[in-house]
């Protein structure tokens, strides 16, 4: 069904391109070429997709437990802050520093998201409300801490650049992709996708989390501790988003700006939706969005098509993915309707034949 949503989204994009007086074949050619035409572009696509993979996994994981995590942006900020703070504070060898940064981002995101989990478990506060509020709390914490403790040399509104030792960018990778800003975060993302899939499919933890997500009453009656699983699920979702924050702020970028909630936190919802909440589905969806984001500038440069068309395609795909259930249902109905009609016609024909025979 996700493939179906993508196709419908692309068709809608084509219609828009025609409506604005452009050739959609050219448009798509340059759009995808822009994302994939050379090794550097491919690297940039993967780099753009990296935080989206984490954000998407975060939403998908929480969703498996029946929770809607809209707090990805705030969790990314906290993860990024932990990563940046350690990168700017300690002067350790790169492997140790990166390991500590990653762990700190993971823990920061996990703690940040476990608070809404705790509120949900103890006081039944809806996680949609509390995670949105937590986004803004994170936003203002960054607003205070960055200028106060990590102020950049020129601007009040951003932190210092992290040293090379604290960056997920490594020279061999950059040169392998001929100057792209791809970084180690992408490999971290692959590892985390594998681990997430493993947890969900093979472990008792995944079994419990999904049981609570599908039917918390039955899970509770069977002796599964529902509240513990709600908190745990939010903590894992936060850890994933926190890691995404690290790959974004000390990988994709190299400093933090104040007054911005990272859009990837919200795009993660769309990625999870398109990826049908499965880890590898999320991976594929994030790469696809990465291509569109990377290619839209090129499309704009080569044709008269505005880059907003690419955003519109993404938005349309999200709509179709969200309504895929509806499409599926109507699809069945349509098939059934045709079959019934066919049967009725056959019956009628055979009756007419019989009637004819009588005469």
């Amino acid at each position: 069904m996700s493939v179906f949503a993508v196709i419908l989204g692309l068709i809608a994009g084509a219609i828009l391109m025609i409506a604005t007086g452009n050739n959609p074949l050219d448009g798509f050619y340059f759009l995808f070429r822009g994302g994939l035409m050379n090794i550097e572009r491919v690297g940039n696509t993967l780099a753009t997709a990296t935080p989206l993979i984490f954000a998407g996994l975060s939403v998908a994981f929480a969703f498996k437990t029946g929770l809607f995590n809209i707090g990805g942006a705030g969790q990314m900020l906290i993860g990024g802050l932990c990563a940046t703070a350690i990168g700017l504070t300690f002067d350790w060898p790169k492997p140790i520093l990166l390991a500590v940064i990653i762990i700190a981002a993971l823990i920061g995101g996990a703690l940040w998201a476990s608070l809404p989990g705790l509120l949900k478990a103890k006081f039944n506060v809806h996680e949609v409300v509390s995670t949105i509020m937590m986004n803004w709390i994170a936003y203002w914490i960054i607003f205070y801490i960055v200028p106060q403790y990590f102020k950049g040399p020129f601007l009040e509104t951003e932190s210092q650049r992290i040293p090379a030792a604290a960056s997920l960018k490594v020279p061999w990778l950059t040169s392998l992709f001929s100057g792209s800003f791809i970084n180690l975060g992408f490999f971290l993302a692959i590892i985390v996708v594998v681990i997430s899939a493993f947890i969900l499919e093979r472990t008792t933890l995944g079994y419990e989390l999904k049981a609570v997500g599908y039917n918390r009453d039955a899970a509770g009656a069977a002796g599964i501790n529902v509240n513990r699983n709600v908190i745990l699920s939010m903590a894992i979702a936060g850890a994933l988003a926190g890691l995404g924050g690290a790959t974004f702020y000390v990988g994709f970028a190299s400093n933090m700006q104040i007054g911005v909630l990272p859009a990837q936190g919200f795009d993660g919802i769309a990625v999870a939706l398109l990826g049908a909440n499965s880890p590898w589905g999320v991976f594929a969806a994030a790469i696809f969005f990465g291509i569109l984001h990377t290619g839209k500038g090129f499309m704009n440069a080569m044709t008269a098509i505005p880059p907003e068309i690419a955003d519109t395609i993404i938005a349309t795909i999200i709509y179709f993915a969200a309504t895929s259930v509806l499409i599926e249902r109507n699809w069945d109905k349509l098939l059934k309707f045709n079959r019934d009609n066919l049967l009725r016609r056959k019956k009628k024909e055979s009756l007419e034949v019989e009637a004819g025979g009588d005469q």
């Binding site: 599908y214 039955a218 009656a221 069977a222 002796g223 069945d332």
Partner: protein
Amino acid sequence: MELIVEMNNIRKSFPGVVACDDITFKVRKGEIHALLGENGAGKSTLMNILFGLYQQDQGDILLRGKKVNIANPNVANNLGIGMVHQHFKLVHNFTVTENIILGIEPIRALMVDTRSASARIEDLSERYGLNVDPEAKIEDVSVGMQQRVEILKMLYRDAEILIFDEPTAVLTPQEVQDLIKIMHNLIEEGKTIILITHKLREIMAVADRCTVIRWGKVVGTVNVSDTSEEKLAEMMVGRKVLFDLNKIEAHPAEEILKIENLSVRNSNGMLGLKNFSLGVRCGEIVGLAGVDGNGQTELVETIIGLRKPENGRIFLKGQDISSLSTRKRIETGMAHIPEDRHKHGLILDYTVQENLILKNYYFEPFSRNGLIDWDYVYAHAEKVINDFDVRSGQGVEASARSLSGGNQQKAIVGREIDGNPNLLVAVQPTRGLDVGAIEYIHQRLLEQRDQGKAVFMISLELDEILDLSDRIAVIYNGELVGVVNASETNENEIGLMMAGGKRGAVA
């Protein structure tokens, strides 16, 4: 005799199922016509079409010989059709009169004229022997009375064809007797009654004719005087039905479950269970009888650990489990067949094999070091569905949702008994099941008892309680009315106790 309702070749399908397939159903004026069928046979759908809640896909309806189009329940009302739904549709803080006139309030000088309405209701109540006080508030009157208010609602609207949807499900046996009397009064006054039910005995007691529906098709219409319960059951199920369980004498041993002065608040914060004490011994089945909503839910939820008691204690095998988690209680040897299998029994989006490990996934050999051994789980599930005759299209890998109700219930029973519990708490274990599945589950419960396990069965079906139990406890208004030996009691006595009458008060 004159036909008042004719439904010809009615077909109605919902996505995935044909609820009514070419049903022809004819009711004579002035008769009590029973509509018999198992759950999901299509009898409610057919009546909802007659009442205008659904539209048929094919076929037509004739009332008093004239073709009609019943687009909605208002049309049905105007045509003289009334329906008493299984779940009453009454406003609880309104009086009887206010409820009855709702929607057709008589107006005098811009005011609702409740006085003349009251007088008319009083009149109707007397004429049909309904014994309803028009000024009483609904929340203060019994369930049986509420049902009579629903009947008055139809009479007030001059209904001539009265549809009763499973009217006895919520009544005590004595109230059932009263209802049968009322039905006869209604017939004497020239009304026609259609009775939807799956209870054979009531049909034999009250109906003139009976139409049996199976899987959306009419099996036949018979005169009740020419048939028997056995024949009706065979028509309904499609094969011969065993009525007798082979029940050997019980050999009760030591007490395993002890409930001591238990008081529990319900969801509204009131005491739903008051100072309740009861013991269940190994090797016996204790049945808890009572009308729905008299504290059974609170009791069960407290026993399995989903609700905290206000007062009192629960002992399992001599151990105080009152403050233990649900899991600890399960590990101590308690199993639970929940009342609502979709809400508390199964995870419908999980496969059958995943559902069968819901209570033991976390220990060996089902999992090791937090990793589930899916091969073992598969083999285990195969064994359980074979042992418990769970039929599913795609075997253990089918989603629980795709199973029929009976097979879902068998899967739950299989899971619970497979855990080899000492105590089985079975709540409405056969609710909504067909006769075959009911027989099967009853045999399994008896088997548990005969193996020296304890079974605590909570049921609203009095027949089930009387058939299976060795001792019967009766609950009313959150209190234990009394405990009697099943061999020394009868339906009448239990019925009176279910209405709150203490034992001994019955002479």
